[in-house]
């Protein structure tokens, strides 16, 4: 993605153009929300300076580590994937729309500061108060942190008077064949996707946003995820998922604004002008039956995806990015790429596309079976769930060969707001 999609850091920094304390107080209210206010004051300035020095010492030109928060679109959607994700779904506990709005404003200010690599608030000047920032990211570079915010269908119930603003094509996902959903990983009024090249930085962001939300919203579920890091793969090849296959090969080109406008960015349709420039996110926690997969033959594995494991090339092809020809026949006259392989089904006639931005996850050991709880935190973005994710997943759920090896255990969808510019806030078109 080009960072030009976003405003220049210079104009967007709340540090360089501080909201006055009075402004923020008026905007952000009190208590937990009030906590971040120190960040816009003098403490924030100094924290930012210290951070810069630290980054320079470590030999990081820190602009490369920083992805602008403000912009036409939210960062973290077409941004090239960072190494780690910390995903969090929240439930709103207040029933007051004003409180919700204040939360959005406070989250925006905090997110802008954290993606800059600044600490929240003053550096613990007061010994009688808990520090404003929880501190574990002190001295760390921003690590390309992005924070992406979205609203779940449940936010559009009667609580906040938003029912009429729910986009026509945005509701809870229908049940798919084979779903084995567990409420532990489903739904949410709000979502925050924190992605960064450092897991501690991502964790810090979610922790502090949850802290700010206390009394207004509570965590509903979280999932952290990873992929191979940039340093493990300096060439930056397509990452492999935990089944050992390259994953992301056929993604649309995130640097092409034509493709992104067609596939990812929502317009004003469905009576939801507030979503123009936003994107709809589908999240599925998909557990892999690792042990079963490990007992299947290489041939089986490759026919499951329709690609070679080593190269990622389509079956019958040579190279990863070879053109895919679903009608090509193998030596025995049957399709080289099985019709029920994951790729063949997901590709179809090529008319339905999504932007995948998934991460591997590990949930430790399943205490019941002693097996690994690991899989894919599948995330994709699209302009219309009804026309993209849903028909795709319906097709996959019915006949994908991959289903033998996977289990969808978590599910949620979110309407990710358009971006905000400095002085504004995420969600301002809605509330």
């Amino acid at each position: 993605m080009s960072n030009r999609e976003h405003e220049e850091t210079k104009d967007s920094s709340i540090l360089k153009k501080p909201l006055s304390r009075r402004d923020l107080l008026r905007l952000a209210g009190t208590g937990g929300l009030g906590l971040i206010i120190g960040g816009a004051g003098m403490g924030g300035l100094f924290a930012a300076k210290e951070r810069k020095t630290a980054a320079a010492v470590a030999g990081h030109p820190d602009t490369e580590d920083r992805i602008p928060f403000y912009g036409k679109h939210q960062a973290g959607i077409i941004t090239p994937s960072q190494n780690f994700i910390y995903f969090a779904a929240f439930d709103v506990t207040t029933t007051d729309a004003q409180e919700l709005k204040k939360l959005f404003q406070a989250w925006t200010a905090a997110a802008a500061a954290m993606t800059e690599g600044s600490m929240l608030g003053e550096e613990s000047a007061n010994h009688n108060l808990p520090p404003v920032d929880t501190g574990e990211s002190a001295g760390l570079s921003p690590s390309r942190l992005t924070l992406t915010f979205g609203a779940g269908p449940s936010l559009f119930d009667s609580r906040f008077g938003l029912a009429s603003k729910r986009p026509a094509n945005f509701s809870d996902l229908p049940a798919f064949n084979g779903d084995q959903l567990d409420a532990r990983w489903c739904g949410g009024d709000l979502a925050v996707q924190a992605c960064a090249d450092d897991l501690q930085v991502a964790f810090h962001a979610i922790r502090n946003l949850a802290r700010i939300a206390r009394g207004t919203a509570v965590l509903r579920w979280t999932q952290e995820g990873f992929q191979r890091t940039g340093s493990a793969d300096p060439a930056g090849g397509t990452p492999r998922n935990l089944l050992g296959f390259k994953d992301g090969t056929a993604n649309p080109d995130a640097t092409s604004s034509e493709q992104m406008n067609r596939v990812v960015w929502a317009g004003a349709e469905g009576g939801a002008a507030w979503m123009a420039g936003g994107s709809y996110m589908a999240v599925r926690r998909i557990r892999m039956r690792i042990e079963v997969w490990d007992r299947s033959s290489l041939k089986d594995q490759e026919e499951t995806f329709g690609r070679y494991r080593a190269s990622g090339a389509p079956l019958g092809g040579q190279h990863e990015f070879d053109k895919v020809d679903l009608s090509a026949k193998g030596p025995d006259g049957s399709p080289a790429i099985p019709a029920n392989s994951h790729m063949a089904l997901a590709r179809g006639d090529g008319s339905v596309q999504i932007l995948r931005r998934s991460y591997s996850y590990s949930g430790g050991m399943d205490a019941k079976t002693g097996q690994l709880d690991a899989g894919l935190l599948f995330i994709c973005f699209q302009r219309d769930l009804q026309k993209q994710f849903i028909p795709l997943q319906q097709k996959l759920a019915k006949s994908d060969r991959l289903n033998e090896y996977i289990q969808h255990v978590g599910s949620a969808v979110f309407a990710c707001f358009p971006g905000a510019s400095s002085g504004g806030y995420i969600g301002e078109t809605l509330l």
Binding site: R21, G31, L35, G41, M42, T93, A125, N128
Partner: protein, 302 residues
């Protein structure tokens, strides 16, 4: 819990605020900082939890002696009741009245739970009265939870008589010592947060009352104890940071309302009756309260 008394002495406050003033001057060298700073003090008419110069100056002169006295009075009252109710409880144990003893157990403890920070400031009294199994060496284990195990798990008062005697003695000792404990505003402020931390680390998880499952009695008593401190400090807090004061008040109300749903007779339902999501909600409401409450230290200056 380690509550340090006398952590704030007036001289220390003055010293640190002098240091702070020095810092502010240095900061003003940066034009951007001084611009922000002006706005800071302009807006700082007692609204923000994280306060700067002018307000801490005000805090130094705040006289907490009336607040401290009224908290001491409260603590003494609770102690008096505690001794009285513990006596009834231990008498029932010694008389072999199992059901009566069980009924008196949780209510007697409530008086203690409301002022736990005080007891914890008095050296070894807390473990003697309130240690759970494994908190102390088996040979030293006594107090409420030792008897709790006898009543609920072994289902008899037999063998608990000596523990009952010791418990009453310890309760009386607490009552005698409470007169001497040094209370200051700092102890009150930290104590309020500590009370809620107690709830979130053991009561809300059902680990406090392993055998009797009367955790909600303790939960409510801890919250009441914190609320009392807040009530006493409320006028000062309202002056210093009215938004914070209001928010803490609202969240106490929300939590109490939620707890009320579990009232049964004069007490509370058994912890085992709570569903998973109910526990989670109680815990989240508690965190929502504890967060702003932890900023009550703004009263004490820097």
């Amino acid at each position: 819990m380690n509550l340090k008394l006398h952590t704030i002495i007036p001289a220390g406050i003055i010293l640190s605020s002098l240091l702070f003033a020095g810092c502010s001057e240095k900061e003003s060298a940066d034009p951007a900082a001084s611009e922000t700073k002006t706005e800071t003090s302009a807006a700082n008419t007692g609204t923000s939890a994280q306060s700067a110069g002018t307000d801490s100056a005000a805090a130094q002169t705040t006289d907490f002696s009336a607040a401290v006295e009224s908290y001491r009075t409260f603590a003494v009252e609770q102690c008096d009741q505690f001794v009285k109710q513990t006596e009834k409880f231990t008498e029932a144990v010694k008389a072999g009245k199992l059901e009566e003893a069980k009924a008196l157990y949780a209510p007697a403890r409530s008086y203690y739970e409301r002022i736990e920070p005080i007891a914890e400031a008095l050296g070894n009294l807390d473990p003697d009265i309130d240690a759970r199994v494994n908190d102390v060496d088996a040979a030293e284990w006594r107090g409420f939870h030792r008897i709790e195990k006898g009543l609920w798990e072994d289902k008899t008062t037999k063998g608990q008589e000596a523990f009952a005697d010791r418990l009453l003695q310890d309760a009386q000792l607490l009552r005698a010592k409470v007169e001497t404990v040094d209370i200051d505003a700092s102890l009150m402020v930290t104590g309020a947060v500590e009370l809620l931390n107690e709830v979130s680390s053991s009561k809300v998880t059902g680990e406090e009352e392993l055998y009797s499952h009367t955790d909600l009695y303790d939960f409510a008593a801890n919250v009441e104890g914190a609320a009392k401190i807040y009530e006493i400090l409320k006028p000062d807090l309202a002056k210093k940071d009215p938004d914070l004061e209001k928010q803490i008040g609202e969240r106490f109300d929300a939590l109490k309302k939620e707890l009320d749903a579990y009232k049964k007779g004069d007490g509370y339902v058994s912890y085992t009756e709570l569903k998973e999501d109910e526990v989670r909600k109680l815990s989240q409401n508690l965190d929502a309260l504890a967060e702003p409450l932890s900023n009550m230290g703004t009263l004490l200056g820097v």
